[in-house]
């Protein structure tokens, strides 16, 4: 029962936050706010959470008397929604409305009693309690120094056995301190996904209004913390997926009723964490992808092919697949999904789509929790070392163990059930032709082979961007153990060189 209450309460908090942004241009949103407080009052009263009940009662009372939101009320509402979410977190941990919850809600009860929301104007633009603010640029500079210090530490650790015992012990203590420092700095970059989900909630309603569709958004996992760079990077992809769900997935209300579905569609964003990975699943209960139309479209472009459902769906993420369908005849997905895949893969993630006709579609983005320290595979091509995100590495083979075929100017690696395009790393990156090993990589909408001279032991590093000097070929560079920069290859670029998927 508590779980159901918390889920409903959290959805109400998000809806309150979302409504707060619409108050200035839609005074009718006040009615929605009143209804939300009324619902939360009822369920909180039932659970015996007196302070929340009293707060909601007071808020419902005040809002019902408003013609338009008074100054500071939108900020008040946002702040209250955020605090209520925090309180829900405490209730989830303890099962009770402890005095600390009452203490957190007290300023809101006082503001409602006095009908004075001006104090909350000051909080506009701040998330959470005020403290020392640090710019992302400054944090990046700190990280650059940390990266350098780590490289020096790694260099020293190779000489550990030659150190006298007291120095070795001191070095060990230094290592522990640096690990703790890195963890603390990484923590500074972590942000709650809640604030991103709230923004998406507003967008969903705006987009649904534009399309004349009815939809409710359910967000789960708003408390999960993710590196800000990942959260920022994935936001566009999520907007894209939601737009596709609304545009192509969720049917108009009449059509849904004809199919025996509720008139309002549902978009669910579920965020889960597993170890150092975060999964963001965007699902809808709409029409799903029309696989027959998709197959027909694929055959129109590529000719007759034997493709299973997974391979067919992967075509939707291929650059150029949907742009050729300018008339938008596909009833399923497609528009711009290549951009989603590319941005996720650039962060070392991958995308999975599942669909069922008339039941809906689910797209799962699997991403690293942080971009700070990325697990990497190291490769030697010619005399140079390159790195590649470990998440894009599928398998490693000796060249003599794989069958390679050449069709015209293109080379392929034979695999059971097909062939993968092959890129000669030396030829592309200027390290001479050929290589003793074939690595299979995932990127740019499919798998492909890369011919390299050697696969070196795995490692990790802080990837620093190269800016305009890097072009499209590299994600960035890390500073290697001896201080030399090591370029991190972009699998999507290599995939392009492979000529796309086959």
């Amino acid at each position: 029962m508590l779980t159901d209450y918390l889920e409903e309460a959290r959805n109400i908090c998000q809806a309150l936050d979302s409504a707060s942004y619409r108050l200035s241009r839609e005074p009718s949103a006040l009615k929605e706010v009143m209804r939300l407080f009324h619902t939360l009052k009822g369920s909180s009263g039932f659970m015996g959470f007196d302070t929340i009940t009293e707060l909601c009662h007071l808020a419902e009372d005040r809002v019902s008397a408003m013609d338009k939101p008074p100054e500071g009320f939108a900020q008040f509402l946002r702040s209250l929604a955020g605090t209520l979410e925090e309180v829900m977190g405490e209730i989830e941990s303890t099962g009770a409305e402890l005095p600390s919850c009452k203490e957190k809600l007290r300023p809101f009860v006082e503001a409602l009693s006095a009908e004075d929301y001006s104090v909350f104007l000051e909080a506009a633009g701040f998330e959470g309690s005020p403290g020392i603010r640090i710019t992302p640029e400054k944090l990046d500079r700190i990280l650059a120094f940390l990266g350098e210090a780590e490289a020096t530490k790694n260099r020293l650790s190779r000489e550990r056995s030659r150190l006298p015992r007291d120095l070795a012990r001191a070095f060990h203590e230094l290592e522990l301190s640096m690990d703790a420092l890195r963890d603390e700095i990484m923590g500074l970059r972590m942000v709650d996904m809640g604030r991103y989900l709230r923004r998406l909630g507003i967008l969903v309603q705006e987009m649904a209004d534009q399309l004349g569709k009815r939809v409710e958004m359910v967000a789960l996992g708003s408390e999960i913390q993710v590196d800000k760079a990942v959260a920022d990077g994935v936001m566009d992809a999520m907007v894209h997926l939601i737009r596709n769900a609304l545009d192509h997935g969720i049917e108009p209300p009449q059509e849904r009723e004809r199919l025996g579905k509720p008139p309002a569609g549902r978009i669910t964003i579920e965020i889960t964490q597993e170890g150092n990975r975060v999964r963001i699943a965007v699902s809808d209960d709409g029409a799903g992808v029309d696989m027959e139309k998709l197959r027909a479209k694929a055959e129109e472009i590529y000719g007759k092919m034997e493709l299973d459902e997974k391979a067919l769906l992967s075509l939707l993420f291929t650059h150029g697949f949907t742009t050729k369908d300018k008339a938008g005849e596909l009833s399923g997905r497609g528009v711009g999904l290549d951009v989603v895949k590319e941005s996720v893969e650039r962060m070392g993630g991958n995308v999975l789509m599942e669909t069922a006709r008339d039941q809906g579609t689910r797209v799962t983005l699997d991403l690293p929790l942080t971009l700070l320290v990325t697990p990497l595979a190291f490769l030697r091509i010619g005399n140079e070392t390159f790195a590649i995100p470990l998440s894009s590495l599928v398998r490693v083979d000796w060249r003599e163990d794989v069958e390679m075929v050449k069709v015209g100017e293109r080379s392929f690696v034979k695999r059971p059930g097909g062939a993968l395009p092959l890129v000669d790393g030396g030829k592309v990156l200027g390290g001479g032709e050929g290589g003793d090993m074939v690595i299979t990589l995932r990127g740019g909408g499919g798998e492909f082979g890369l011919l390299v001279d050697e696969v070196l032991p795995e490692g990790s590093g802080v990837i620093r961007p190269l800016g305009s000097v890097g072009g499209k070929a590299f994600i960035g560079a890390i500073i290697g153990p001896d201080g030399t920069p090591i370029l991190v290859l972009d699998p999507a670029f290599l995939s392009e060189r492979a000529g796309g998927i086959v």
Binding site: A144, V428, G430, A473, D482, I486
Partner: protein
């Protein structure tokens, strides 16, 4: 009077305004950058920051020796490292502006002063 850091690229004596210079290093860790824009030979580690390593000789009608010195200077978005064949030291002089990119001025007995940001621009970065 302004202060300049004077050096040679190939046989050509040049200078940078001292306020544009972050430092010199005799050995710097760097790697080649495939697909690099013209003039960029690689990327370098300048005190923990990754920056482009540029051979200015490409733009100066001179054949540089490719180092062994590197002069790090302030670019528009961070440091850039320039290959320099020898360092002559700090000089003072009155600068006379010139409109002859990548030079911004001239001082003393005809010593041309490079503009680091103009070098960046010529590289297309």
């Amino acid at each position: 009077m302004s202060r300049f850091v004077a050096f040679r690229v190939g046989e050509r004596p040049l200078a940078l305004r001292i306020e544009d210079v972050l430092g010199f290093a005799r050995e710097i860790k760097w790697c080649r950058l495939p697909f690099a824009p013209r003039g960029v030979v690689g990327i370098a580690n300048w005190r923990g920051r990754i920056c482009p390593l540029i051979d200015p000789g490409v733009f100066l009608d001179t054949i540089s020796g490719g180092g062994p010195w590197v002069c790090a200077c302030q670019g528009s978005a961070g440091p850039i490292a320039i290959l320099v064949d020898s360092v002559m030291g700090i000089e003072t002089g009155e600068i006379t502006p010139v409109s002859q990119p990548p030079f911004i001025g001239i001082y003393g007995e005809g010593r041309l002063v490079l503009d680091a940001k103009e070098i960046e621009r010529l590289c297309g970065i």
